[in-house]
């Protein structure tokens, strides 16, 4: 009996389990999936919680409900992986040996990398929206807030869902406008990037939107610490910015067992071949989703496209064949822009986000790099698609590799 072990039952791990379970012969293969948490969070929904659009209950379901029959589920912290011995050690010292390992343990925020972040203002005037707790505390706070300086700061790149902080300020603009207090809220976007976003065309268009919405932008800002007494953030080059509410996107890291296993880089992301998704160091380990060090976005859409590629390559790998499917870095992101509108971007390693129509060239219904109501409906519908189709590994009408059709160069 051959053994496949999947680490992580989040978006990427769950899709892989659902795709591979029907393809692997049950008489020859056992599949085990390991995760430490029972709850599957719809992470794109966290963004909506501070503004009362979703509640905390709208974003959770049980992980087990999305895993296929015949896959053994182990709920445990991972102590370490021993790639030379082809085995995983769990926190209770139980040993899982494997023939092939798929790593999908994602990324998470750590508050330890910025001094003062979790000081006395933490979850009182300093919030995050990358955890359900942070998003819910912020929702309670905003309900009764009278306004002031709202600073959104990204500690460092890379972060999960790099457009989320922009969506946050767009939604904040919309929320405080609708509550009739936008003139009392000074929204300030403070980023380590040189502009609103990473890619030139998108950065220009999104930068213009910040200006139009009267949101201040401070680029090239690298935070050193938070001063809880004076309510300000201070950068390595001593640029001080005052806040009444600080919304932080802290440093993102991979899971700690990656460090214990000496599998990752300085942020616990695992060196992975950009195209085949095989670990750079170990032939029988594959990595997908946020856990990789790929120069692609850390986003659910990327995990989904990677899962299509990895399914093909995994079948090649177990047959000892060359890996033929190549991931192109494809990402597809809906960006909520407030007031019931949204923007859509579609890009890969080589092609930056471009204007056009998607997914049907010339028709749409979605518009790329343009604010429309239809794009917003796309994002709203997506929660249903996520739970009912995407996690279950069903085909969606979007190609895994990006296409230039319908895009204006």
């Amino acid at each position: 009996m051959k053994k496949l072990v999947i680490l992580g039952a989040g978006t990427a791990g769950t899709i892989m389990a659902n795709k591979l379970a029907p393809l692997l012969n049950r008489d020859e293969w056992s599949i085990t999936i390991v995760d430490q948490f029972e709850t599957h969070y719809y992470q794109p929904g966290f963004l909506f919680i501070p503004f009362g659009i979703y509640t905390c209950r709208d974003v959770k379901k049980s992980k087990r409900d999305f895993l296929p029959n015949g896959v053994e589920v182990v709920m445990s912290v991972i102590e370490r992986v021993e790639p030379e011995k082809n085995r995983v050690i769990l926190s209770n010292n139980a040993i899982l040996s494997y023939d092939f390992l798929i790593i999908a343990t994602g990324s998470k925020i750590t508050t330890n990398e910025t001094e003062g972040l979790t000081g006395k203002l933490w979850q009182k005037n300093v919030f995050d929206f990358y955890t359900v707790e942070g998003a819910c505390h912020m929702a309670d706070y905003f309900k009764h807030w009278n306004g002031g300086k709202l600073v959104i700061n990204i500690a460092e790149m890379p972060i999960k869902c790099p457009v989320a902080p922009l969506e946050f300020v767009f939604l904040a603009d919309s929320y405080f406008t609708e509550r009739g207090m936008r003139d009392k809220v000074d929204i300030h976007y403070v980023t380590p990037l040189s502009g609103a976003f990473t890619k030139p065309k998108a950065s220009e268009i999104l930068g213009n939107m910040l200006e139009k919405k009267n949101i201040r932008l401070t680029p090239d800002y690298s935070i050193e610490r938070v001063d809880n007494e004076e309510k300000k953030i201070i950068s390595y080059d001593d640029n001080e910015i005052d806040f009444d509410v600080l919304v932080t996107v802290p440093t993102n890291i991979g899971d700690e067992y990656v460090e214990r296993s000496d599998l990752g880089d300085e942020l616990n992301f695992i060196p992975t071949d950009n195209h085949t998704l095989r670990s750079k160091d170990h032939e029988n380990i594959f990595v997908l989703g946020d856990a990789t060090d790929l120069p692609s976005s850390k986003a659910g859409s990327v995990a989904h496209f990677e899962a299509d590629i990895l399914t093909e390559n995994f079948i090649d790998a177990i047959d000892n064949r060359e890996l033929r499917a190549k991931f192109d870095g494809h990402a597809n992101c809906f960006i909520e822009s407030g007031f019931g509108k949204g923007i859509l971007i579609d890009f890969n390693y080589d092609t930056e986000p471009l204007p056009g129509k998607f997914p049907l060239p010339g028709i749409g219904p979605f518009s790329l790099l343009e604010e429309t109501r239809m794009n917003h409906y796309g994002k709203v519908m997506f929660r249903w698609i996520y739970w009912n189709m995407l996690l279950r590994g069903l085909e969606l009408p979007i190609e895994s590799n990006m296409t230039l059709a319908g895009k204006k160069l």
Binding site: E156, M157, P158, P162, L193, S194, T198, K199, D220, S222, E224, S235, Y236, D237, D265, E266, L267, P295, S296, S297, A331
Partner: protein, 105 residues
């Protein structure tokens, strides 16, 4: 490809104004590029960072992140900003004869 004269040598540069070929780099070129960026002298601290960046680039083909430089080069983050004010990574890469670092996505 465009060329320009740096410290008496004709050198190819890329569209960002960085050296197109890092192997033609030497310390005189570094000093001239540094001066253009408002850094008048290359101290031991600057040199530590430059040599770290070049060694990393040669072995991995990639420019290390600020975090990695701060942890591994022997010069911490605070010092990096003092040595290369306003965008340490971009400036240090240019002075080191390397391409402009790709920002993350």
């Amino acid at each position: 490809m465009e060329t320009r004269v740096i410290s008496g040598k004709t050198i190819e540069i890329d569209t960002d104004g960085n050296l197109a070929d890092h192997t033609v780099w030497d310390e005189n070129i570094a000093l001239e590029l540094a001066k253009e960026l408002g850094i008048d002298e290359l101290t031991d601290g600057h040199k530590k960072v430059i040599h770290y960046l070049r060694d990393e680039y040669k072995s991995s083909g990639e420019i290390p992140t600020m975090r990695k430089i701060g942890k591994k080069s022997g010069v911490d983050m605070k010092e990096l900003y003092k040595l290369f004010p306003d965008g340490p990574l971009k400036k240090a890469a240019k002075i080191s004869g390397l391409p402009k670092p790709k920002s993350c996505v």
